[in-house]
C-alpha cells in the first residue's frame, strides 16, 4: 500500500510539472513513472474503483468512449476515463492519477463515494494486459480491421489473444459486440453469457467481413440512415422495444456505428435514451475526429487516418461533401504510433480522390510525404496537382496562404499531434491536449 501511495504521489508531481510547463497533456507520463515504482498499481486500485466499461477494437474507440462518457455525465454520473487515445496501461493509470484527488488515494475506500463509473478505451493489443485487472460491467468490441501490422500483427492473432483473455474475465461482465463484423463473432465461442449485440442495416463499411445470408440477430439496430452533411446525420435506432429518431452532428457511416455502440452501452446503464438528441446537440467530437475550427474566415476540418479501413471511410466522407473550392492536405508519418510500415496506404482507396476536380492543389506532408505523392500519382491524380511539403509547418502555411474556402486535413496519429501543436502556437486552438 505504501508503495502504491508513493507511486501515485510521484505521478501527481509529474502531472503537475507537465501541465505547468506545458510539456504535454500528462496523459501518459504520470502513469508510466508510477508503474515503474509500483507495477501492480492498477490491480491494487481496482478493488476501490467503481465498475468499469471497457471499449476496444480497431477503429472508433476514442469517439465511442467520448460519446458514452458524455451521455453518462449529462445523466449526472461521475465518470473517470482515459483521454485522447492514451489507451495503454500507463494511460489508464495516468487518468486515475489525474482525476482522483490525492486525499482519496490516502483513503482509497472513499473513491467509490466520489465516482460512479470508469470508462476505459483500451488498445486492442493491450486488452489482454489490462482487462483482467479491472472489474468490468461491460466490454465493448467495436470491430477488427487490419491495422498497423508491425505493431499488432495479424487479425487472427489479435482475436486469439482476445479469446484467451476472455476466459480470464468474470462472467458478470456483459459482452457487447458489433455483429456486422464476422471476425468479431469468433470471440463469442469463448463466452458463457448471452452477448448484447448491435448492427446497422442497409450500409456497409469497406473491408468489413460480413456473414453472407442469415444475419446474427442483434438487440440494437440502426436503420433509415441519412448521411445529410458534414454536420448532420439522421437515423432510427431500434433498441429493445424503443425506436429512437436520432439527429447526430457526427458525419459518416462509421460514426453511426460509434453512436449505436455508445447507445447500446447507455441502455445497459439504464440512461434515459429519450434525451439522446439533447445530449448530441452539445456534443463536440474528439481530438482530430472530424474536429472543426475556423480561422480568418477559413474553415478547417481535421480527420485522423491510421489504417486502410478507417482512411477509406474518411475518404468516402470527404468525397461526399468536398467542393471544388476546398483544399485537401494529407500527412503521413511513420513513427511507432503511426505504424512504421506505410504499405497500408496502397490498400486505402485514394482512387476516390481522382475525379474531384479541385481548384487547389493537394498538399502532401509528413515524414513519408513522397510515398503519399506516389500513391496519389498512381491513383490517377495529375502530378502537377500535387504539392509535396514534408515539413508540417511549411505545409500548414501553404494552406493558410491559399484562397481555398475550406481545408480538410488528414493526418496520421503523430502528424495530428504536431498539427495540434502548430494550431496552439498560432493561437487557433487553446492547449492542444484539451478535448
Amino acid at each position: 500500500m505504501l508503495k502504491l501511495i508513493i507511486a501515485i504521489f510521484v505521478g501527481k508531481i509529474i502531472l503537475f510539472f507537465t501541465k505547468t510547463l506545458k510539456f504535454g497533456g500528462g496523459s501518459t507520463a504520470p502513469g508510466f513513472y508510477a508503474l515503474k515504482i509500483d507495477p501492480c498499481s492498477i490491480e491494487e486500485l481496482s478493488e476501490f474503483l467503481p465498475l468499469s466499461i471497457i471499449i476496444t477494437g480497431t477503429n472508433g474507440k476514442t469517439t465511442t468512449s467520448k460519446l458514452i462518457s458524455y451521455f453518462c455525465e449529462q445523466s449526472g454520473l461521475r465518470v473517470i476515463r482515459n483521454r485522447s487515445g492514451s489507451n495503454l496501461e500507463r494511460g489508464v493509470l495516468s487518468a486515475l492519477i489525474e482525476q482522483i484527488p490525492f486525499n482519496n488515494f490516502l483513503n482509497p475506500s472513499s473513491i467509490r463515494k466520489s465516482f460512479d463509473l470508469c470508462i476505459w478505451e483500451i488498445d486492442e493489443a493491450a486488452f489482454y494486459q489490462i482487462s483482467p485487472k479491472i472489474n468490468s460491467l461491460a466490454i465493448l468490441f467495436l470491430n477488427i480491421f487490419r491495422d498497423q501490422l508491425d505493431r499488432y500483427g495479424e487479425i487472427n492473432s489479435i482475436i486469439s489473444k482476445w479469446n484467451q483473455t476472455l476466459t480470464k474475465i468474470s462472467q458478470k461482465s456483459k459482452i457487447v459486440i458489433n455483429s456486422d463484423d464476422t471476425n468479431l463473432l469468433q470471440i463469442l465461442k469463448n463466452i458463457q453469457t448471452q452477448p448484447v449485440s448491435f448492427s446497422i442495416t442497409g450500409e456497409k463499411i469497406k473491408g468489413e467481413s460480413r456473414i453472407k445470408g442469415k444475419k446474427y440477430k442483434s438487440q440494437a439496430t440502426a436503420t433509415n440512415i441519412q448521411l445529410l452533411s458534414l454536420d448532420q446525420t439522421k437515423f432510427d435506432l431500434i433498441i429493445g422495444l424503443k425506436t429512437l429518431h436520432i439527429t447526430s452532428p457526427l458525419p459518416g457511416l462509421y460514426n453511426i456505428y460509434n453512436l449505436t455502440a455508445a447507445l447500446t452501452l447507455a441502455d445497459i446503464l439504464n440512461l434515459d435514451l429519450t434525451k439522446v438528441n439533447i445530449w448530441l446537440e452539445s456534443f463536440s467530437p474528439a481530438f482530430g475526429r472530424v474536429e472543426k475550427f475556423t480561422w480568418k474566415d477559413k474553415k478547417f476540418y481535421l480527420l485522423l487516418i491510421k489504417n486502410p479501413a478507417g482512411a477509406t471511410e474518411v475518404l468516402k466522407l470527404i468525397k461526399s461533401y468536398i467542393t471544388p473550392h476546398d483544399q485537401l492536405m494529407i500527412a503521413l508519418n511513420d513513427k511507432f504510433a503511426d505504424g512504421q510500415d506505410v504499405s497500408w496506404i496502397w490498400d486505402a482507396d485514394f482512387e476516390k480522390l481522382n475525379d474531384l476536380k479541385l481548384k487547389y492543389k493537394f498538399v502532401l506532408s509528413g515524414i513519408r510525404a513522397y510515398d503519399l505523392a506516389v500513391r496519389l500519382k498512381y491513383s490517377g491524380i495529375e502530378e502537377n496537382h500535387l504539392i509535396v511539403e514534408p515539413d508540417l509547418i511549411d505545409a500548414f502555411n501553404a494552406l493558410i496562404k491559399s484562397d481555398s474556402e475550406r481545408v480538410f486535413i488528414l493526418p496520421t496519429y503523430t502528424a495530428l499531434l504536431s498539427i495540434q501543436k502548430i494550431l496552439t502556437q498560432k493561437k487557433i486552438k487553446n492547449y492542444y491536449w484539451q478535448n
Partner: protein, 248 residues
C-alpha cells in the same frame, strides 16, 4: 499491345498493401498506351495455361496461407505457374507468396507446408519477427537502369534459405532479408522474383516495375522491346528519402 496480370489469391493474400504492386504495373503500362487486364484467381478457380503475361502473388495471414498452399497443390495451379515461369512468364511473389513458391515451409508446430518448388529455397519458421525498412543492392542480372538500389519494408518471422546464393535478388545493405544471417534477400529464377519487400515494392522502385513490363512484353510478342521513358521524379524522391535515412 496488351498485358494480362494474373493476381493470385487476391482475396486471401493481401494484407500488407501488396496490391500497390499491381497498381504500379497497371499504371506504368497504361501510361505507355499498353492495355492492362487484371484477372483475380483464387481458391477453387481454374488457372488456364497461356493466358497470363505476369503473375502476382502477395502475402497473407498464417491461416490463409495454409488454405492457399493446399489449393496450389490440389488444383495443380502451382504446377501450371511453374511451367509458365520456366517458359519465361514474369512473376512477382512477396513474403507469403514467395514462401509458398519455395520447396517447403516448416512451421514451428505441425506438418510442413508443401511448396511449389519454383524457387530453389526453403523456409523455416522462427520466433523472431524481422520488421523494418530494408535496402538492398539488386543483383546485376537485373541490369536496372538508374541505380541498383531497391527499398521496401519487411515483416516476417519465416527464415528463407537459398540453395544457391547466386540466385539471390540482391544483397542486404540495411535490414534482415531472407533470413537475417547470410545477407541475401529474395530470389530470382528466369523472370520470376520472390522477396520479402512490402512497401509496396514496385511503386518506389520504378525501374523494377519497368523490368517486369519489358520482360512480359518481350516474352509475349517474342521480340526486343524498348519502353518509352517516364518521369520518375516523385518515385525516385520517395526512394531517396528512405535511402537517406539509412545513411544517417
Amino acid at each position: 499491345m496488351k498485358l494480362t496480370i494474373t493476381y493470385l489469391y487476391h482475396d486471401l493474400m493481401n494484407i500488407y498493401g501488396d496490391t500497390g504492386n499491381v497498381i504500379a504495373l497497371s499504371k506504368r503500362a497504361s501510361w505507355r498506351g499498353i492495355d492492362i487486364e487484371v484477372k483475380n484467381i483464387s481458391v477453387g478457380q481454374k488457372l488456364t495455361k497461356g493466358l497470363s503475361d505476369i503473375f502476382f502473388f502477395g502475402g497473407g495471414q498464417d491461416e490463409q496461407q495454409v488454405k492457399v498452399s493446399e489449393d496450389l497443390v490440389s488444383t495443380k495451379k502451382g504446377e501450371i505457374i511453374k511451367e509458365e515461369v520456366e517458359k519465361g512468364v514474369p512473376l512477382l511473389a512477396i513474403c507469403g507468396g514467395y514462401q509458398l513458391l519455395g520447396e517447403y515451409y516448416q512451421p514451428i508446430q505441425g506438418k510442413n507446408l508443401q511448396g511449389v518448388s519454383l524457387f530453389p529455397a526453403f523456409t523455416i519458421a522462427s520466433n523472431r519477427r524481422m520488421i523494418g525498412n530494408i535496402l538492398i543492392n539488386a543483383s546485376s542480372k537485373l541490369m536496372l537502369e538508374k541505380n541498383n538500389c531497391l527499398v521496401g519494408f519487411e515483416n516476417h518471422s519465416g527464415k528463407t534459405y537459398l540453395k544457391n546464393k547466386d540466385q539471390a535478388l540482391g544483397y542486404v545493405k540495411f535490414g534482415f532479408g531472407n533470413n537475417g544471417e547470410d545477407q541475401t534477400e529474395g530470389c530470382i529464377i528466369k523472370n520470376a522474383i520472390g522477396c520479402y519487400m512490402h512497401g509496396s515494392l514496385l511503386p518506389k522502385n520504378p525501374d523494377l516495375t519497368d523490368w517486369f513490363i519489358k520482360k512480359a512484353l518481350s516474352y509475349k510478342y517474342q521480340r526486343e522491346i524498348t519502353l518509352k521513358k517516364l518521369d520518375n521524379t516523385l518515385e525516385e524522391q520517395a526512394q531517396r528519402q528512405l535511402i537517406k535515412r539509412f545513411e544517417k
